[in-house]
């Protein structure tokens, strides 16, 4: 029987939150190094939702066009990670990353690169931490920049045949003095999520031992 969803138990959720927290903490520290200003990342909440619902969660919050840095991962489990932020934030982010020294022309030229690099650093921090904590390795593709609304980013089409689930990490990153915020989402299919769940159980057994 094919299950149409995967639910995480309380401890599994705790464990994943903790793991993502480490990754996000690394990402924040990376971002701090890049931007040289205070960066806050909210304690992430985790949800497994349909692609359609994930798109709605974002569109409810963000009316404008979005930019995403996409990185596919493969290994013990596979999927696609997205770092999403409003398009209007994009230049602001680039400016934060590149410093104030760049001319407007350079800035425009650098935009895509800056986005790619930022996405690369943040997504890698998260994915790599997850892989390390779960004692598995993941291969990651070169990051790619996408533009579009939330439906496009989550590949929602009218046919409604998207069947993937989204591990939705409510990670708001806010940068002081800059109007920047973003979200991280990981689209995975059910077998991958089942595998992730399995690996989380392994992790829990490892650290909790008899207390579990």
């Amino acid at each position: 029987m094919i299950r149409d969803s995967v639910t995480l138990g309380e401890l599994e959720r705790d464990a994943l939150t903790e793991i993502v927290n480490i990754g996000v903490g690394r990402a924040a520290s990376s971002l701090r190094k890049m931007i040289g200003d205070q960066v806050t990342l909210s304690v992430p909440a985790i949800d497994i939702v349909s692609q359609r619902r994930a798109a709605r969660l974002i569109s409810e919050r963000e009316a404008a066009e979005l930019v995403a840095v996409r990185q596919d991962f493969d290994g013990a489990f596979a999927g696609r990670a997205l770092l999403i932020f409003p398009e209007s934030n994009s230049l602001e982010l680039v400016r934060a990353v590149t410093g104030e020294s760049l001319s407007a022309e350079d800035l425009a030229e650098m935009e895509r690169e800056a986005l790619t690099e930022t996405g690369n650093v943040i997504l890698n921090s998260c994915l790599a931490t997850i892989a390390n904590m779960l004692k598995r390795s993941l291969a990651m593709t070169i990051p790619e920049v996408l533009h579009g609304n939330s439906a496009a980013l989550f590949e929602i089409d009218d046919a409604g045949d998207e069947d993937g689930l989204v591990l939705f990490l409510y990670i708001d990153f806010a940068v002081r003095k800059r109007d920047i915020r973003g979200y991280i989402a990981m689209i995975m299919d059910i077998p991958s999520l089942e595998k992730l769940k399995e690996l989380l159980d392994e992790f829990i057994a490892r650290v909790v031992g008899d207390d579990g």
């Binding site: 705790d14 793991i19 409810e60 409510y170 940068v175 109007d179 915020r181 992790f203 650290v207 909790v208």
Partner: protein, 654 residues
């Protein structure tokens, strides 16, 4: 660490509210704790002086919280930077304390964690307060927020999200929060480029909830905490829609107050005017009633005597004399009908209300109306199918309708339309002029005639007021109708527009038990009496008494007479007078007719009583209507009506 230095650190930590501190040496896989930590965990004091197995860290943690904390610690050992967890610790005295463990990782040059140090802070009290606060917030519908200057997001409570109709989240973009605001509203939270924040957060915003699209009013309260060059906003929001709506209602009320006062004053003036009018009518009624009473007595004498002369004399020999007498009689009868109308207006005419179907009355009148109204006027009688019953005197109602119809006719000299309607009407609010709420049958007489000016309308019910040429009308028509309706417990309105016509409406109260008692027609006919039937006539007016006694004797009755009640009782007390019928005036000095009747009945229970009166209000009427047991003969009466009424009474079985 020197002992003195450690002691110093301990007291600093204690002063800071710390319940213990730890130093987890990752590389050496050993745990160091301070004495407060040891005490909290129920360990020997000397445990604070040596390396402990790292598992000790979890020993006193509540089993339900332990896995969670193990996972978090695993994160720290794997390179997470900060540890901030709340968990329960089972203290040696058996109590459960909430601890906030805050720690951080110390990394080597390769970013590998080597030590994990931290503090335990007792937050039991805060936890309880938070719980209370959480309940208060959800019960009170209060959402909280915290926003730091320059950030694009704000920390919010789930109640906050709910109030705005947003998906629950701990952090929301400021733009998202502000997106629920209606156009033109100030910002709920500042955005880059928005105006500087004021000193207070007190404000009210109109929003459209994101989930259900409903329009709400949201109030914001809170504080601006200045921090160096920036600030933090900490505050709450709550829904004030109900209060706002109330406020709007109040404002509207205040705005319309002046108008309503004017309206109120106008209504009051109208009521006062109606009262004045009623008082005037009452005064005029008293006067005319009094005059009519005396007049009736005079007319009784005049008519009676002419009647006698006409009957006694053989007038075939003298046609002129006969004509003269007939003219005199006609004049007297007209005078009698005039006084009848005066009495009607003064509401002193005796009414004989019956439960009737007005539709039948009106249908029965159509012949009469057709005859009275010229052919150039189209008459339409229209009644509701299931008309309620009313209790009125049917003859007087006919009179009233005929009167109004004739007035209508006169208002349409060159023809037009006359509509007589009867409708069931529920009056919900008191009408101006005193018509109380209730169920009524409304009889309307509507013409398309010349209409009247407001000044004229104001006076139409006054007796002797007429719009007709001198000699053409008595000026008593409408006032009679007015008196009849009022006496019947009804209400009358008149609407008139010059050039468009007039509508007179009679509001007759619905009779609740719709028992239909058809009026029994009693035709007066001269019926003779017997000598064994003795009638006692009591009348203070000598002329009237003489006339009455004359007729009764002529009819063949035995008649005894008395001038007042005392005389009558004396006669009844005597053995030689076996009176069958007492015929008495109602209004007499010293003893009234009804009083006499009751005292006479005490002597002779079989005695029948017939009252005569010019009006009956004084003593005989209860609630403006005849007591059903009482028989009454209106003055002036004729030979025939007296004969018929007396005969009927004597023949009526008990």
């Amino acid at each position: 660490m020197a002992e003195a230095g450690a002691e110093q650190v301990r007291s600093i930590l204690a002063a800071a509210g710390a319940s213990g501190s730890w130093d987890w040496n990752i590389a050496a896989d050993a745990l160091r704790i301070d004495s407060r930590f040891a005490e909290l965990y129920g360990l020997e004091p000397e445990a604070a002086t040596r390396d402990l197995p790292t598992a000790t860290f979890f020993a006193a943690i509540h089993p339900a919280d332990r896995p969670r904390i193990r996972i978090a610690v695993a994160g720290m050992l794997a390179g997470a930077e900060r540890f901030s967890k709340e968990f329960r610790v089972l203290a040696p005295d058996g109590s459960t304390l909430w601890m906030h463990g805050r720690g951080q990782a110390h990394l080597d040059e390769n970013d590998a964690p080597v030590r994990f140090t931290g503090l335990l802070i007792d937050v039991t009290e805060r936890k309880r307060t938070e719980e209370r606060l959480r309940i208060a917030q959800s019960a009170g519908g209060v959402g909280t927020f915290e926003y730091s200057d320059g950030f694009a997001t704000a920390t919010v409570s789930s109640e906050f999200c709910q109030l705005l109709g947003l998906h629950p989240a701990a952090v929301l973009p400021v733009r998202t929060i502000n997106s629920v605001l209606c156009d033109g509203e100030p910002l709920l939270l500042p955005q880059p480029g928005s105006d500087a924040i004021g000193d207070t957060l007190e404000a009210v915003f109109r929003i459209v909830r994101n989930d259900d699209g409903s329009h709400r009013w949201i109030a914001r309260r809170g504080e601006v905490v200045r921090e160096g060059s920036g600030y933090r906003l900490i505050g709450v929001i709550y829904d004030v829609t109900a209060a706002k709506e109330q406020e709007a209602k109040l404002r509207e009320l205040a705005d319309t107050l002046e108008m309503r006062v004017q309206q109120e004053v106008a209504e009051r003036r109208e009521a006062e005017e109606a009262l004045r009018q009623a008082q005037k009518m009452e005064a005029v009624g008293q006067l005319t009633g009094g005059i009519a009473h005396d007049f009736n007595n005079l007319l009784t004498v005049i008519i009676g005597n002419i009647d006698t002369v006409v009957r006694r004399m053989d007038m075939d020999h003298d046609p002129r004399m006969r004509r003269s007498l007939e003219n005199a009689l006609k004049g007297a009868e007209r005078a009698a009908s005039l006084t009848q109308r005066l009495l009607a207006f003064s509401r002193r005419q005796p009414l004989e209300p019956k439960t009737i179907d007005i539709a039948r009355v009106l249908t029965g009148m159509s012949d009469l109306l057709t005859r009275s109204i010229t052919e150039t006027i189209a008459i339409r009688i229209d009644t509701d199918a299931e008309l309620w019953k009313v209790e009125v005197d049917p003859h007087q109602l006919e009179n009233a309708v005929l009167n109004l119809a004739v007035n209508a006719r006169d208002a349409m000299p060159s023809g037009g339309g006359l509509t007589i309607e009867a409708r069931n009407v529920e009056v919900r609010d008191a009408l101006p002029g005193g018509c109380l709420p209730g169920a009524y049958v409304v009889v309307s007489v509507i013409d398309s005639g010349t209409g009247m000016s407001p000044e004229t309308v104001a006076k139409v019910f006054d007796p002797f007021f007429t719009t007709k040429e001198v000699g053409k009308g008595t000026g008593l028509g409408l006032s009679m109708v007015y008196g009849f309706v009022k006496q019947s417990g009804g209400h009358i309105t008149i609407d008139s527009t010059e050039g468009h016509g007039t509508a007179v409406r009679l509001y007759l109260a619905r009779k609740q038990q719709d028992v239909l008692l058809e009026a029994e027609e009693r035709r007066p006919s001269a019926r003779m009496g017997n000598a064994d039937e003795t009638i006692l006539v009591v009348e203070d007016d000598d002329d009237v008494r003489a006339y009455t006694v004359g007729i009764l004797r002529e009819l063949g009755y035995q008649v005894v007479e008395a001038q007042d009640g005392d005389g009558a009782l004396r006669l009844l007390g005597g053995h030689d007078v076996g009176a069958t019928l007492l015929l008495t005036d109602v209004v007499m000095p010293r003893m009234s007719g009804p009083e006499l009747a009751s005292r006479a009945r005490a002597l002779h229970p079989e005695l029948r009583v017939l009252f005569t009166s010019g009006y009956t209000r004084d003593a005989i009427m209860r609630d403006d209507r005849l007591d059903p047991d009482v028989d009454l003969l209106s003055k002036p009466f004729t030979y025939a009506t007296l004969a018929a009424k007396v005969r009927e009474l004597l023949d009526r079985g008990h």
